[in-house]
Structures are given as C-alpha cells and as structure tokens.
Amino acid sequence: MSQAEVLRRVSPLWTFGLLRSELVTTFRRWRTLALLGVLAAVPILVGIAVKLETQDGSGPGRGDGGGPAFIAQITNNGLFLVFTALAATLPFFLPMAIGVVAGDAIAGEASSGTLRYLLVAPAGRTRLLLTKYATVMTFCLVATLVVALSALTVGALLFPLGDLTTISGTQISFADGLGRALLIALVVAASLIGVAALGLFVSTMTSSGIAAMATTVGLLITVQILDQIPQLHALQPYFFSHYWLSFADLMRDPVYWDDLVKNLGLQVLYAAVFGSAAWARFTAKDITA
C-alpha cells in the first residue's frame, strides 16, 4: 500500500507543541482573562482605599493593627502595597482562581467532548496530564505576578517609593526591597502548587467542569475554616494553607526560613500525593464523554 512509509521521523521536541497549545488556549479563554482582571483589581482597590483614608494625614488602621499585613506601611512606601496585596489575595482570591483553572483542566475538556479528540490525536494520557499541570502552575505564577505588578504600579502612582524598613527594624535599599518583592511573589506562586494538584485530581474524578471547580473551591474554603479551629491544632500543620502567610518572613532581616521551608515542603508533598492520585485515576479511566 502507498502509506507503507507512513513511519514518520519524530522529533522529541514536538511533544512540547501540546504545552504551547495548552498555554495559548488557556490564556485566550475569556474566563482566564476575567480571573486575572479581578486579581489585578484587588491592589487597585486596596491602594485607593488606603489613599482615601489617609488624606487627612492620619495613619491607616489608626494603630489598631487591623487589615492585612503591612497595610500600615503603605503610605510611607508604595512597595508595601505589593506585600499587602499578596497577603490579601493569598487566602482566597488567588487559590480560588487556581481552583477554577485546575478544576476545569480535565473535567472541562471531558464535558465539552474535546478530551476524546485530544486522546485519539493521540495526546497520551500521562503527557496530557503533565501538560495540564504545567499549565496550571504557569497560571499560578502569572496570577501572582499580575497581583504583584498591579500593586507595584498602583503603589508607585499613589505613594512615595524609597528605602524600606524590614519587620526586624533594619533599613534595606529600594533595589533590595524590589528583589525581596519578586522573591515573595515566587514563594506565593509556589504556595499554590498544592491547591493546583488537588484541583487537578478533582478534575480527573468527574466529567463536569463546573462540579470540579465548585468542589476544589469548596475544599479550599473548608480547609481555611478548619485551619481556624483551635481544637484541630494537631492536624493543622498538614493543611496546605497552614504556612501560606509565612512569606512575610522574607521581610525579616535576617530571613527566618523555618516556616518558609515547611510551606514549600508541604506543597511538594501535596503535589506528589495528589499528582500521583490524578495520574492513577486518569490513566485507568474509561472516557465515555
């Protein structure tokens, strides 16, 4: 037959074509852009609120220590808006956005029927799952950077910039502060690895994108609530959100690493456990949708 020579020469690099397609597809979705828009709006709102409240010259929070971390320092240095915005979005907005994207990753393709065509292409189940996970992690990073950059822009426009004081009371230069801000953004993005793996696992369990998103966000809220109940303190160190706010320790001088390391270790553990579970589930699943 004429196609006997169909055996094509295949470059191993071509396998990344799917990742590129996946990234382009995800970031062209209206929903993704809306989520990023909401995230970008949070620092703007915080910035404006702080600005309005301090126009009479008094300090924000009026010394009662309320509100997210670092909020009191924003009027002195706009760079603190980056830390405040990340502290404000990390407990809910950021993981919710990740939950939506991760929950929809496999289940959304299943409910629209495109999953079967990707698999007969053949995308390969392990390759597709890894591609989806890589895309969700990229989204974690992009989402965090959107918050940080929006906060930096708003902070620079509304407040003075300059050398800043760390939590420990020492002075660091603005350039050093900027470096720490970037490092904090990276740590915040890495804090979301656990939620991303959990969302992806939930996504392999159902053929309904909405159900997967709702379950992931529901789990996120449940864990956040449980983390507040003192009677559960024995379990709390294993909640993926327990050490999230440890990123503030990067603003100490010298940096206090203990909780940061615990946080990252916990995220890796979640990624390993739920990543394996997602793989086991997805590679053995009958695709009937």
């Binding site: 037959m1 597809t25 209206w30 629209s112 009937t288």
Partner: protein
Amino acid sequence: MDEPSAAETEEADAGGGGIIATRGLTKRFRGGQLAVDGLDLTVPAGSVFGFLGPNGSGKTTTIRMLMGLIEPTSGTARVLGRPMPRSVRTVLPQVGALIEGPALYGFLSGRDNLLRYDAADPTADPRTRRTRVAAALDRVGLTAASGKKAKAYSLGMKQRLGLASALLQPRKLLVLDEPTNGLDPQGMREIRSLIRELASDGTTVFLSSHLLDEIEQVCTHAAVMAQGRLITQGSVTELAAGTRGRLFVTTPDTGDAARVLKEQGLADVVVAEERVTAEPPDRELAEVNKALVTAGIRVRGFGVERASLEDAFVALTGEGFDVAG
C-alpha cells in the same frame, strides 16, 4: 518490542488479521450493563466497512474500545495489527477518527481548533502544521469559514470541521461515527464522494451509521450489531445475496395474475395494489411471463427486485431497523 510488532503490522497489512480485528471483545459497564458482548469483528484492509445497528446497539462503545478510550472487560482488540489500548501511541497517529459527533472549542476559530488537535499529536510536524490544516479545511470545504469562531458554526459545519481533524495527516484507517449527521443532502453527497476518494487512495474506512442506504451506497463490507452482539458481517453483496429478491408483476388484473403465479408453483404470493409479488422460481423467468401473457393478463411490468440491505437486515433480526435494543 519493536521487531515482532513490526512483523505483526506487516501481517495485518497483508490482510491476514484485518486492519481491525477483535476477538471476544466485551464491555460491561460498572452499572452492570452489558454494552458489547463477545464481539468478533474483522475489517479487511482497503475496505469501506459499514458498521450498522440501531441506536444503543453498542457501536459507539465498540469504537471507543478500538480507539483506546475504554478498556475492554474481556477479549482483545487489534488495530493495524497491534493490541489496543496498549499501542495507542504507535497506532493512533495513523488513524483519523470522528467519534460521536464533533467536539470543538467554541471560543477558538475553526482553524485554531485544528491547530490545537494537530499539536496534540506528538508525531505531527509543527513545520508543516499550517499547510496541513489549510489542506484539511479545503478538503471539507471550510476554507471560507475557517476564521469564524467554532461556536458560530452550524451542526453541518462542525461535522465538517470534525472530519477535517481526522484528515490532518495521511491515515491508514479512518473511523467515522455517523459522519453525515446534521448534514444537508448536498453535504451528505460530498461526504460520500470524499469517502470514496479516500478509499481509492487505499485508506480503510470504518463507517458507523444507522442509515442503511448510506452504507449501501458507499460500503464494500458491512457488519450488523444489535443489543451488543454482532449479528452478521461480510461483503455487502454477500449480505444482500443472503436474502433472495422478489419476483414482481405490475398489472391491473391482480387476482388473475396471483392465480396464474400459484398455478406456476410459485410460493408466497402476495397481492398488493396493482402489483403481485412472489418468491422467484428456480426455472427460467420467461416461462412465467409467457404463462401470464397466455392467460390474457395485461402485464405492465415484470422482473425480480434485488434484495436491499434493509431486507437483509429485517431477515436477520426479524424486526424493523429503528427498534432500539
């Protein structure tokens, strides 16, 4: 692993095992429902194979098992001579498929949908991607609409785009599940001629349908499923030959004609309006006609109707075609 399987592929190409060969293929879903029951299906290389059956007869489950989407409960399925779902990675790049209707990303244009599906195939060369996508769009007549978002497509256009995704690469086998669904008569004709064209290039086409005349028009071989079981398979002419045609006489004198036919020893004489039919005799037909004319019957038409696939199906199942299992 490569050497023996390469040999197996050659054997399959030589027509030994068939492009698709299943042995005792069975799928019982978790709810206990037996969707496919001991299927022994052989699709010869180079054939246009019609896979027939009422809705719910297990056609789609079978196709999903062949494509590695569903794991069989028992039995084996070989596609291009290799076991599925184990050899998905080597087999599927040579197979184009349209399964249970097209599925598209509504927010992407037709062209971008194809680019995405092509990127999912790790054996597809990205350097030729745009050219191949353009060629596939052209082949199904969608070039003009390729920039439109897929959610704005009509069902027929979606169907065409689905077909285009099956044609992104030269394929050895095309699996098309109900490919003319949602198409207008003109579109159906185009798809049929496309299938014939592909078949003449040597592609084996596995076509599932519940439209008998569609199968009869394009297929060389066919299999019939009902309630998860394979009722029959073979070449279309063999299947149709399984049921004998019927002798018919068109005449205003139906009563006399029926009497004469009975006198001539014909069985199963049925009188309808201006028409008498009977089982054809083994002897020369002209003798029967002569007897009719000699008896003074005004014969307007006389002959034997070839059995259609539908007659064959009714004879096999003893029931109408559209009865769901």
